[in-house]
Amino acid sequence: MSPWKIIRSACLSLFGDSARAFGSLSVVLLLLLAIVPAKDHFREWLRYQHEYQRLIRNRSDGVSLARRFQGGVQQIWLPELGVVDRCTTCHVAQKEVSLAGVMTQPFRPHPPIPHSLTEFGCVMCHRGQGAATTVEEAHSSTKSWEQPILPARYVESSCGQCHERPLAGTPQLNAGRDMLARYGCVHCHKVTSPEGRTMTATDDPPSLKHIAAKTTREWLYAWIMNPQAYAATATMPNFQLSVGEARDISAFLVGQSTPYLADGDLKTPPVPAKDDTAALQQGSSVYGESFCASCHAMQNAAGLMVGGNLGPELTRIGSKVKPEWLAEWVRNPKVYDPDTAMPHYRFEGKDIGLAMGFLESKTDPDFLANVHLDAATPAQIAHGKALVVERGCAACHDINGIAHQENFAPELTAVGSLPLAKIVFAPGMPHTLPDYISAKIRKPRSFGSALKMPQFTFPDAQVDALVTALLAQTSRARTLPAALRIPAAPPSTYQPAGRAGKLMTDMRCFSCHAINGRGGDMAPDLTWEGSSVQRSWLVNFLKRPNTLRPALIRRMPKFNVTDEEANVLADYIMTVYQTPAFDSGEIDASKFGAADSAHGKDLYYGKYACNSCHILDPNKDKGYIGPTLTQAGLRLNAAWIFHWLKNAQALRPGTLELNWNMDDDDARAITAFLMQQKAASKQGASQ
């Protein structure tokens, strides 16, 4: 029997007459109608909802869980945020705290966060396709949807879309944003906040206009070949230059350099001989007493890095700088670099020599051992200049004859929303945006050997932090309602006036102290310093700073100011830096009686246990966190102590001192007790 005949007989048996045809078509119609409920029955989300119901059935709190469970497709719709999220269709237990121990998704409750899920939805923070109702489409990158779910380790980036100001709970995002500024990324890459403020760098790359006065061509060559070989903490990245490129760039940089001093101005002080160990010891003392380590790190004999990171590392400084330059720099750094963060120490000639002897002894004979450069030819210098322009050196450094290179690299303002279609991925790498950014940071040249981006050496955690900060730069952040945005504190251009202002600039007070929103955070905020201290103490402290906070290793250096300068500064501080919260003279300490201070002493050692953090009696107290109070009566203003005890956070936001919320009687008694503390001054003695 041929196939044709079989089909014919089948057709006849199914549709041979009207009754048969009617019957067959009815069956087909029934089957067709069954498709929709069948498809519905096998939906993924329905399976998860059934699974959830099985999960909660046998729990002791199953009844209340079941009562709160809502079946069917769930949706969070927030038109002003552009959110249509159906994630809670499968992630059914987002608010069920009692399921915190469940480790299987999609049934984990959401960890506690400061925002309500119903007000912000899911994709604002986690990305993915909110409207999708299948696992694949919601979480992955598909043909019609680019943004997959954000890996958990970058989720802090989503906070950064609204929060420009550092948040206590997002250390990774904060660290990444600090890195963008500290490692100078924003010199080349423009990054702008939704308010339109452009991020500025904090690394302060030095001007190279007088570089030949500071160092040798050999050192420059070795440095640009590999900055981390000179100092592991160097922020300058490795440009992966060839030997010839480094030779020509160093030739050009030395060639373009101009003198920064007239010849007669060089006054090199007597430097002790290299084998004069007593002088080296004294030089080390000058280094220590001047608290150079507050800003500069140096490797100690045990190989440990000791010191701050505000200035460059000094472990091999003797191999880098020329002695005559160092002398001038220690004498007054602003002569060479008017914008440096380093203070003018006003050293005497002898101390300059001792400090120099100590710093010059910090050499590494191996560092330049293999560097031998022949005199440069004009062709090499010309090639060096071309390379300097090509590599964008002038995006960071001031160089004679080359204009500052603005926007040298692609802008990163919206890099967190970079369309995947615009990205050229390296072979073999996962096609996601976080993976792309992270690979670009780890090995920029893996995307092409001709690319200019230099090689940084960051550990995994720092790369994650940078990727987090960059992913926060989304285009969505720009479309959110302005009311949601928490802009960063506007940069302060505060500058104190007059002679005191000049002195404060000269001593670079703002490198460590903040006043009116401008300045560093290494030392206390001085905005209300005039209300806080007594003038006589301030004058003495400016001349001979002593240790106030024993637990700190960063301390106020001695700036060798004259009596007259100390008085000018004290006058200005006492007059201008007065809080409007109270009147400095409102409490007269001389009116306190013995009963007041006796009661204050009981409160100090009893109810408030102030001695757990402050030392008042050095023979008895051991507390090591707050400043020493042995001289509180000579140092502090009575009204300041009173208001400080009531609410220190209002006077100096962020201080470690608690807001004690003390009642007036207690605060008064403790003030009386503290104003009695007038131990003999140790100022000027060993610190």
Partner: protein, 238 residues
């Protein structure tokens, strides 16, 4: 038929007699596996632990054995680099660990086999913090750890030993777990005196907001050792 069997038997014998190639077989076997470092670390969700997890495979005398294969395993989402490798000349093997994307505790298991093929294992417990616990850790670093952490560093001297009543380390689960959440929050907010304890623990209530204190309590629970097991009635979040 007989000949076929003979050939097969010969082939099988030849196969058994051959020295196993190093790529296919485990070249060395230990008698014990011990954890060296990397235990009880904490990181954010999906983040890399600061320190690698290091194990050592020992022989019966307790000396490290080189070339023993160690495999690391954990709940899904945890990434080891490398996931499996031979021990080095000192018998040790380190691996960097990226925790899974969910908060909570992760048990990492390192497995090697002894001569008899029996698995030898050592377990490491690590913690992934959620947002609230991360916030708690940051606040604790600023306000609490100067007294509650007895370890001093070059940058920070501990105040722990200067107090007349030594503060409890936050990982001291044996002491802190039995304290109810309400009492924990009362001690942080109103000071030690709130529960008749030392006034050296000051009241942080107006300084820190209620949600900050909640975060500190969540952090203390997260790092407790032995782990904190919640008890009692739960209510859904609003």
């Amino acid at each position: 038929m007989k000949r076929t069997f003979a050939v097969l038997a010969l082939l099988a014998a030849a196969g058994c007699g051959r020295v196993p190639s190093p790529a296919l077989a485990v070249p060395a076997f230990g008698a014990a596996i011990v954890g060296i470092s990397g235990e009880k670390q904490a990181a954010g969700m999906g983040a890399t632990l600061d320190q690698p997890v290091v194990v050592q495979v020992n022989d019966a005398q307790g000396t490290g054995i080189a070339g023993a294969r160690v495999e690391f395993s954990a709940a899904s989402g945890v990434v080891f680099n490398p996931p499996s490798e031979l021990t080095g000349s000192d018998g040790q093997l380190g691996t960097t660990v990226r925790l899974g994307g969910m908060s909570g505790r992760y048990s990492l298991v390192a497995t090697t086999r002894d001569k008899a093929g029996k698995p030898l294992q050592v377990t490491f417990d690590e913690i992934a913090f959620d947002y609230q616990q991360t916030l708690g850790r940051e606040l604790s670093e600023k306000y609490c750890s100067r007294c509650h952490n007895p370890e001093s560093s070059a940058e920070r001297v501990s105040n722990h030993d200067n107090l007349s009543v030594p503060p409890h380390a936050f990982s001291d689960g044996a002491t802190l777990n039995p304290i109810s959440r309400a009492n924990l929050i009362a001690i942080i907010g109103h000071g030690g005196v709130a529960l008749g304890k030392s006034p050296e623990m000051p009241p942080y209530s107006p300084t820190l907001s209620a949600s900050d204190i909640d975060a500190l309590a969540a952090y203390i629970r997260a790092v407790a050792d032995p782990p904190y097991r919640p008890q009692g009635v739960f209510y859904a979040n609003p």
